[in-house]
């Protein structure tokens, strides 16, 4: 056993783990962070968009040194059928501000930098170490971790579980459930490299400006899912994700969906001639508020994806992870400052602080959305995109048919696909879940 004792052990060096370790180390706590990858970030996968506000609270001058790709000035939402896209594009020069609001990042590179900040703050970061189990006393209180190193049991007052969506420790110890297939999406992604001028020309960008495309429609073949295209400096992150339960039901393959997405006539020209340098996959927590597990117990707290803290509607995850990591660390520091033990009752401060933050407030707002999208996936991801696309084509194609006839044909196609009751029901259910 490693004799040294720590104030806190953080398991994992993703957004949540780094935010927690940094915050506690900055407050003078003795922190050990364990990461199974070769370096912090080498096992982490994300789209990826970074929201500046949350990082700024931790590292105010991050813009000067963090490896950032492009600041985002444009957001596109595409509804696809097999040949077309109906799009909503929002582009604003307001986002060319002195301190931009959102950036694209490359996680392995960003996390490596984030981890260097954690080390500078005084935490001990031990990579290439897989935590195999939580160490618990006779009463079930978590007193540390067991690792795959020789004599690898290490003790601490509190363990921060930042082990990601597929975290094994919490489930092995019976602290929370394994994610259910209907509560996680599997996303696959490729990194497509192109000269930066080519990317700027294809996305209509200047300098370090960036654009994001999120796409739903026939590309997910009726499953609850979404495609994404993010512009980085010299590459494009392109991927698609759908609920695991839907993959299980349909027998579709993730790489099959990715290929079809890449071949879509609206997408193919963006990546034409690119060189692919990586293929990755990751689970995304999609269960929302109703899937959040117990957040703390005797000697432990859980943060980030491991706690299912992801806002699927707004596609915000790493900022919730970072915020929950920071808040957990602040709560732990307060308990420690009062010289109180790390019991469930005392650590409930973390839960209370998280409930007061945007993290739980946002997830609560959309608590009915996952079930709605899941149960109505054929309508929202297949029928409507096809209908909207048909309506648009009907609107723009000029062929001598009187407009009145065109409009009634469009209306007829909506009503015959979904019926009046269906259309109003969908609109009502959607509005209620959004509210």
């Amino acid at each position: 056993m490693i004799e040294e004792r720590f104030d806190a052990i953080v398991v994992g060096a993703g957004m949540a783990g780094n935010a927690a370790a940094l915050t506690m180390a900055q407050r003078g706590m003795k922190v050990l962070q364990l990461e199974r990858g070769e370096y912090s970030g080498s096992k982490n996968v994300q789209g990826a968009i970074l929201y500046a506000d949350m990082l700024e609270k931790l590292i105010p001058d991050f813009r000067e040194e963090a490896p950032l790709e492009r600041h985002l000035v444009e957001q596109r939402f595409w509804m696809l059928d097999d040949k077309s896209h109906v799009g909503l594009h929002y582009k604003s020069d307001d986002f060319n501000e002195e301190k931009p609001n959102r950036y694209t990042i490359i996680r392995a590179q960003f996390d490596k930098w984030f981890s260097s900040k954690v080390k500078e703050a005084g935490a001990t970061v031990l990579c290439e170490t897989t935590v195999t189990e939580l160490a618990q006393d006779a009463y079930g209180k978590v007193i540390g971790v067991k690792t795959d190193r020789r004599d690898g049991e290490i003790h601490a007052d509190v363990v921060v579980l930042a082990e990601g969506v597929n975290g094994l420790l919490g489930t092995r110890a019976g602290l929370r459930e394994r994610p259910k297939p209907e509560n996680v999406a599997l996303a696959v992604k490729e990194m497509h490299f192109l000269p930066r001028e080519t990317i700027e020309a294809r996305f209509n960008l200047k300098g370090d400006e960036g654009a994001v495309i999120e796409a739903v429609g026939t590309i997910s073949r009726g499953m609850t899912g979404m495609g994404f295209i993010y512009s980085n400096k010299e590459c494009i992150s392109l991927g698609i994700g759908c609920l695991v339960s839907d993959f299980q039901k349909t027998g579709e393959t993730p790489y099959g969906l990715l290929e079809r997405f890449k071949q879509h006539p609206s997408v193919a020209p963006l990546i034409e001639g690119s060189e692919v340098k990586e293929y990755s996959a990751h689970l995304i927590p999609e269960g929302g508020y109703n899937a959040i597990p117990e957040l703390c117990g005797d000697g432990w707290v859980v943060v980030g994806d491991a706690a299912q803290l992801n806002n699927a509607v707004h596609r915000e995850g790493s900022n919730l992870a970072m915020t929950s990591g920071r808040i957990a660390a602040e709560a732990i520091f307060q308990v420690k400052s009062r010289r109180d033990p790390m019991t469930k009752a005392n650590l409930a401060l973390y839960k209370k602080m998280l409930e007061d933050s945007f993290v739980i407030k946002d997830l609560k707002k959309y608590k009915d959305m996952p079930a709605l999208l899941h149960n109505q996936s054929q309508n929202f991801f297949l029928t409507y995109p096809q209908l909207v696309s048909k309506a648009m084509q009907n609107f723009v194609r000029v062929d001598g048919t009187p407009k009145k006839e065109k409009e009634s044909s469009t209306l007829r196609s909506f009503v015959s696909a979904r019926s009046w009751t269906g259309l109003f029901g969908d609109a009502f259910r959607f509005a209620r879940a959004w509210r």
């Binding site: 199974r36 070769e38 080498s42 096992k43 290439e128 579709e252 393959t253 079809r260 990586e278």
Partner: protein, 98 residues
């Protein structure tokens, strides 16, 4: 219904860096005569196509190309069809971009 586009997954995995831990598979399939529906689902759901049918019709796994997403754990662990762990520290896939 399955996707009708031919994809060579092994070509995709070739882009990635791996540190293989020989003789220590981090995922194991429970011995079986006929695969359960969960095991069969893994043939298509695994994004690295680690699961394949052998000539006896049983599901086998080769973990070398695993990208550690956990999809098979979510589908196959509850039914006891597979045992899932992470690779030893430092081993497995190493993302340069992630």
């Amino acid at each position: 219904m399955s996707t009708d586009v031919a994809v060579r997954v092994e070509d995709k995995l070739f882009y990635n860096r791996y540190q293989v831990d020989p003789g220590r598979a981090h995922i194991k399939v429970r011995p079986h005569t006929t695969p359960t529906p969960q095991l069969k689902a893994l043939l298509n759901a695994c994004p690295a196509r680690c699961y394949e049918l052998n000539d006896k019709g049983q599901v086998e796994i080769t973990v070398d190309g695993c990208i550690e997403c956990g999809t098979c754990r979510v589908i196959g662990e509850p039914s006891g069809d597979i045992e899932w762990s992470y690779p030893r520290g430092g081993y497995g896939v190493l993302f340069k971009f992630g």
